[in-house]
């Protein structure tokens, strides 16, 4: 059962061959025996999962089943789950049990899905290797001592290792797509505002977006059907109709116009990676697509703009962790200032502290115009590049990461080395457009991802393009040994 997709498990449950309680117990048993190798979960919520499974079986018996009813999955530990510990990978929230559900959490509950637990992640979603988690690094199922990518590294590793068929992720600069690529699974970052951020612990509010992490594009479409939609509780959510993302998966790709941004096939990309990506593009040509080169002249400024905007927003968002109302508090504070400064020094890890400090610096008196305002202007230039390119093509294709999964510890000495890992993903967040990472080959036995970038609200088209590719390739079905 653990090799089946969400769509397949849904059919098994529908046929009555297995109950959700039986299926959930099987997945829980496997999760508990296997995850010692990966450390992909922070919390396994066995009791709640079995209760949800029982409720799902009752829902089905009452004739109210959806595609998700009784299907096990996991949440990245950034989505608040009422009554189940939500840590965001931080000591600051080590014992935080939210008294409410994120909207995404509530949507899966309403659909009858069964959450097995909370997956590991870089602390506060800040990282590209899952090494900044307070709960320890995650191991990529494709290689001993290899990182799974980050920040949604636990979700990616758990799906790749067949511990769950699907998991939620969040993507602020590449945190769904890069781990999906490094673990050989499918991951979609939707348009900014498509999925509610309510109850999703905030990192950089103008960039954060939740999305699906699955083995197949079809399953990602099933997840989007539950995740997407307007939410009055998220002030930046977009009120716009949600299509059935599974309805257009089988549309033919004949005539699809693909653009290859020349800046994303640069010297940062290893020749072996480039070969895999270009082979994938050739598969699309066989499916009837046409290919041309496009240019994103300001893409080279994306990392610089991001490392002003994201830390600035993070420094504001993370000011809520003050030791007063919830989360960690230092021992024996001697006065209020001592409580704030020691709580935050002891509760946050190094990368989070660095980003808060950079952000506070960029927003401080005398620097605001030179850093924050300048970065927001460059952000518009980057967005304009994408808008111009989409006048010529339907989608763009590129690598997801410059290299396959690297070795743990390889990029932790200098933060900037780690930041460059997101060179092909970060501009997409700044523009706010959607992009999907699809398994597209291997280099040295490690998975390579193809990034398909779309215009605003083109998630259905991206899922269609990914699904059609998965009908003629089997990269997404390869299983780590």
């Amino acid at each position: 059962m653990h090799n089946k997709s969400v769509a397949e498990l849904s059919k098994e449950l529908e046929s009555g061959k297995i109950s959700s309680v039986e299926l959930t117990q099987q997945f829980l048993d496997r999760l508990k025996s296997e995850d010692g190798k990966y450390n992909s979960f922070i919390t396994i919520s066995e009791e709640q999962a079995l209760a949800e499974a029982k409720a799902a079986d009752a829902m089905r018996a009452a004739g109210k089943a959806t595609a998700w009813t009784g299907v096990p999955f996991a949440h990245k530990d950034i989505f608040c789950t009422n009554g189940v510990r939500t840590t965001c990978g931080s000591k600051m929230l080590e014992n935080f049990v939210p008294p409410y559900d994120a909207t995404v959490t509530a949507n899966f509950k309403a659909a009858g899905a069964v959450c097995l637990g909370k997956t590991n992640m870089d602390e506060f979603a800040m990282g590209s290797s899952n090494e900044s988690s307070f709960f320890g690094a995650v191991t990529n199922p494709w290689g001993d001592k290899r990182v799974p990518g980050g920040s949604s590294g636990g979700s990616a590793a758990a799906v790749a290792a067949r511990l769950v068929p699907a998991a939620t992720g969040t993507d602020t600069g590449g945190s769904i797509r890069q781990p999906a690529a490094l673990c050989g699974i499918t991951g979609l970052k939707p348009t900014y505002g498509r999925v509610s951020r309510y109850g999703m612990i905030a990192f950089a509010s103008s960039l954060d977006q939740g999305g699906p992490m699955t083995r197949t594009a079809e399953d990602a479409a099933l997840m989007m059907n539950v995740m997407a939609g307007f939410d009055p509780k998220d002030s930046t959510c977009i009120d716009r109709e949600v299509p059935d993302y599974t309805a257009t998966l089988n549309e033919p790709l004949k005539g699809l116009k693909i653009g290859l941004p020349k800046e994303y096939f640069s010297e940062q990309l290893s020749p072996a990676m480039e070969e895999q990506v270009r082979n994938a593009v050739r598969e699309y040509e066989k499916l009837g697509a046409t290919v041309k080169e496009v240019s994103l002249p300001n893409a080279k400024l994306a990392i610089a703009a991001y490392y002003v905007i994201a830390p600035a927003e993070a420094s504001a968002n993370l000011s809520r962790f003050d030791g007063a109302r919830y989360g960690y508090r230092c021992d024996n504070p001697k006065d209020l200032m001592d409580m704030y400064t020691r709580t935050r020094a002891e509760g946050f890890g190094n990368e989070v502290k660095r980003r808060i400090l950079v952000g506070s610096y960029a927003l401080s008196a005398g620097y605001f115009d030179a850093y924050y305002l300048k970065a927001q202007k460059v952000r518009r230039l980057i967005q304009q590049d994408f808008i111009n390119a989409f006048k010529e093509v339907d989608v763009m294709m590129s690598p997801v990461s410059p290299s396959p999964a690297f070795v743990q510890g390889e990029k932790t000495t200098d933060p900037v080395t780690m930041y460059l890992e997101d060179v092909f993903t970060i501009a997409i967040n700044l523009a706010g457009i959607p992009a999907i990472s699809v398994p597209a080959g291997f280099v040295d036995g490690l998975p390579v991802g193809l990034q398909i970038i779309g215009d605003y609200f083109s998630e259905a088209r991206l899922l269609n393009a990914a699904h059609q590719f998965q009908q003629v390739t089997d990269w997404h079905q390869r299983e780590p040994q």
Partner: protein, 95 residues
């Protein structure tokens, strides 16, 4: 661009994060590297470009001024580090 020890100490106070001398040295190097990276922005011509705050240029939505939530003080205070008589306890603020 480099950042001085004094700048780091000042910004650490603004961010309410205690840093010791040893950490300041490490931060001097790390933050200096990050600011070098960020300095690429100064080369961009942004004359007459509007700053971008929301990708779809959406503006803040307003809602009716109605009570929509119930009081959940007990649930919220159950997860607080220290409370008493329905109040959050913090170190003495006024001497």
């Amino acid at each position: 661009m480099s950042i001085s020890r004094e700048d780091i100490e000042k910004v650490a106070v603004l961010a309410r994060i205690k840093v010791d001398d040893e950490q300041v040295s490490a931060l001097e190097k790390d933050l200096g590297n990050i600011l070098d990276l960020v300095d690429q922005l100064s080369a961009a011509d942004t004359e007459a470009v509007e700053p971008m705050a929301h990708p779809l240029d959406a503006v803040q939505r307003l809602r009716a001024d109605e009570v929509t939530e119930t009081n959940q003080r007990e649930a919220f205070q159950a997860i607080a580090p220290a409370t008493e008589d329905g109040l959050y306890l913090v170190p003495k603020v006024i001497e």
